[in-house]
Amino acid sequence: MRNFLKEAGALLAGLVLVLSLLPLSASAQSVDDIISRGKLVVAIDTTTPPYAFLDANLKPAGFDIEVANKMGEALGVPVEFVTVTSPGRIPALLTKQVDAVISIFSITPERAIQIDFSIPYAGQSAVVIAPKSMQIKGNADLVGKKVGLTRGTAPDALLTAAVAANPGIEILRFDDQPALMQAMISGQIDAMGGGDYGEIYLKRAQNGDAFEQKYVLKTFYFGIGVAKGNDNLRQWINTWLFTMKTDGTLDALSMKYRNQPLPALPVF
């Protein structure tokens, strides 16, 4: 009996220790809960420039960070950031460690099984970029041309699929963005696949003005993720995003960080 008590005591002590080590869960459910708690907890990923990165003072900055801060402003509470990795975004919501995920969270039906998305607040397209002098309107126009891309990116998957339908497109895969840019600038490739903000970087090159976006391969829409079934918060976010869109705040942010307006953002 004494042994049992000892064991139970040790077990209890261990349990308390484990529980105290667990991160405090932000279990606020409704907008009221967040306001009464006095802070908004948002998951971000600071490795996704220009959407979220660490500035010169190692403070989070970027498009997503400003959206999060504006959300806190609208609710009248300060924002607490929790840094997550890309695969950590859904678990952060499932374990209720954060109220919302604002981290280039593409809206997909697979993800919507586990969490809920707001209407899109931003979008980004995988596009084909080529010299202005070149007539390119679609994948078919790339036949017989050298198309560069960065290994393993969205344009890689989309253009590799395009080769199957349009044999004769020659794909050159580079290891990183600088090499791809250099290939485009030096004329080693005729066209390149990249993000729609890729132009910003090209424009810094000597002959950067000679290039333009030709067509969109696919557009990804970013929503704010909330826990499954948290309609109270999701509905408030949708309403707030509606006002941010209609008063031009989101487009201004896009110009600031992406050097171009947002694509049209459909709603659901």
């Binding site: 560069g148 290994r151 580079f174 030096s186």
Partner: protein, 221 residues
């Protein structure tokens, strides 16, 4: 967390890896051939050429031996087009790799040439051999024989050096492997498979170089 190794998704794409291997062998073989030619001409020019040529070759050797191969690749692929020489990924890789090996081969062969005793050359002269025959038979062949082990070690390094030319979009073995990693997310398995392929390739090449050495330098000293 899944720790079990799964080679299935990798071995399905073995044909892609073998095509990459073919490209690797092609890059290595051609660059070793051209690099050795550059090395022979470089070493002879450095030792027996006019002072200016000798100085020029010394500059080439120092320039190449003191800069990374990756930068040399970038230069040939990205910078030469600005001067009007646009080479494809493959050609640029072969050119850069040959120039790279050429510098090392020049230096290795020159060391062999310097080791030839002055008396041996003087003896050849007094026998009335022509300058060409002296350089070829009395200097170059014994020099190559003396430094052949270092030279073949450099060739092995050259084979492994081809693994970075994926940086300029040449689809050799490592580049193909990186594509596969992005497709299958089985990085550990992919790298194990290509490490094995490289191991077999380099072992085979070592045997080949040893065999060539035996054939070329048969006679006793």
């Amino acid at each position: 967390m899944q720790t079990a190794l799964q080679f299935g998704p990798v071995l399905v794409h073995l044909d892609l890896l073998l095509r990459g291997l073919e490209k690797t062998i092609q890059l290595a073989a051609l660059s070793i051939l051209f690099g050795t030619l550059i090395g022979i001409l470089g070493a002879v020019g450095r030792s027996f050429g006019p002072r200016f040529l000798s100085w020029l070759i010394a500059c080439y050797v120092e320039l190449i031996r003191n800069t990374p191969l990756l930068i040399q690749l970038y230069f040939v692929f990205f910078s030469l087009p600005l001067f009007g020489f646009k080479l494809s990924s493959n050609t640029a890789a072969i050119v850069a790799l040959s120039i790279h090996l050429g510098a090392y081969a020049t230096e290795i062969l020159r060391a062999g040439i310097e080791a030839i005793p002055e008396g041996q050359i003087e003896a050849a002269k007094s026998l009335g051999l022509s300058r060409y025959r002296i350089i070829r038979h009395v200097v170059l062949v014994p020099a190559a024989r003396a430094v052949y082990p270092s030279l073949s070690a450099q060739f092995i390094l050259q084979i492994m050096g081809t693994s970075i030319v994926g940086a300029i979009a040449a689809e050799e073995l490592t580049a193909v492997a990186n594509n596969l990693v992005m497709q299958t997310f089985r990085s550990f398995e992919v790298y194990i498979v290509i490490a094995l392929i490289y191991f077999v390739l380099v072992q085979a090449a070592s045997l080949l170089f040893a065999g060539i050495g035996k054939l070329m330098f048969r006679w006793k000293v």
